[in-house]
Amino acid sequence: MTTLLILFDVLLLGTLLALAFAAVLSVEPRRAVMLFIAFGLWLSLVWARMQAPDVALAEAAIGAGLGGALMLAAARRAARVRRSEANGSTMP
């Protein structure tokens, strides 16, 4: 039972680190935001595993949900600005 739990924890932490690196290292903003949302949801699992349901709730709702929505909107706007700059117009 304990070995199973340790295995579960290692899997949990390994995936968390992998998601964090993937989010930070990805060049495309939209992809980075998606990975960040996945990271936030996974992190809420880690908080739940650490018996902190309050933090897990806040992380899932604010960190992954609302933060992700805000960053997706920001990435969309940044992409639009970049596109209009590439087209040569000065107005975003």
């Binding site: 349901p53 309050d54 709730l57 806040a58 709702a61 604010i62 949900g65 609302l66 929505a69 706007r77």
Partner: protein
């Protein structure tokens, strides 16, 4: 970046040299950053190792848990957030308000999304009332189980995000004046309760145990509304559309936000 077709070879060589210098500078900078980050990482590992090997000493947790019955709530997390460290929570609400003011100062909100189709509209009309109900539950349950103002406010904010995604440019929020009033409500009620207690001689945000439950509920209700409005307004991403009278005065901004989503 404008491309000049009639550019001489010397210019191109100069550009290449400048680019090489810039690349070298970038490499130096990233090397410096890597060294600094490694040092910080080593320091953090050392601190973590020290904390792990520290002898069991007197900790605050036992004292805090023992006094929870006197805080007016049964959930230790809510007791810490709204009673022991109420000052921190007040400051967090102020941070949220400052962030919202920053977003509003960026200019008028961009246009909303196009009107949702029938399936999404039907889902929204089910999900949004459920979210509001869940927010009320979350607020009440925070007294004795995981929950509380921030989670409840996040649910309200999520309802606003869904409403905006379904085509309402104002994310279901009321007019500008009501939005301004609601977004300061959390800090206002929190500070007023604190000042009233100070005036009564209890000290800033030191609740008398008999009243603590109701004061905390009052503060949390106001904070939930303020957090919900702040998060939804942050998703709208700009100053709220002004009232019709002032839209006429600043006609250009109003005209740009008015036709919502028909273009995209």
């Amino acid at each position: 970046m404008t491309k000049d077709p009639g550019r001489s070879g010397a210019d191109a060589r100069n550009d290449a040299a400048a680019a090489a210098r810039a690349a070298e500078r970038d490499r130096d900078l990233s090397l410096l950053l890597a060294v600094l980050l490694t040092l910080i990482g080593i320091a953090l590992l050392g601190i973590y190792w020290l904390a792990l090997n520290e002898a069991e000493g007197p900790r605050l947790a036992d004292l805090a848990l023992g006094l929870v019955p006197r805080t007016g709530v049964d959930n230790p997390v809510t007791a810490v957030l709204l009673n022991y460290r109420a000052y921190d929570t007040l400051m967090e609400l102020a941070v949220l308000l400052a962030a919202l003011l920053g977003i509003w100062s960026l200019g008028p909100a961009p246009a909303g999304f196009q009107r949702s189709g029938r399936a999404l509209a039907a889902m929204v009309s089910w999900v949004v009332p459920l979210l509001i109900l869940a927010a009320g539950y979350m607020l009440w349950v925070g007294g004795y189980a995981p929950g509380g103002a921030f989670q409840a406010g996040a649910l309200l904010g999520a309802a606003g995000v869904i409403v905006r995604l379904a085509g309402d440019p104002s994310a279901g929020l009321p007019g500008e004046h009501a939005q301004r009033a609601l977004s300061v409500l959390g800090v206002l009620v929190f500070a007023l309760v604190g000042l009233a207690l100070l005036w009564l001689g209890d000290g800033f945000l030191t609740y008398p145990p008999s009243l603590a439950k109701w004061l905390i509920l009052l503060i949390e209700s106001a904070a939930t509304l303020a957090i919900g409005v702040a998060l939804a307004a942050a998703y709208v991403g700009g100053r709220p559309a002004t009232a019709p009278a002032s839209t006429l005065a600043s006609g250009k901004a109003g005209a740009r936000t008015e036709p919502t989503g028909e273009g995209n």
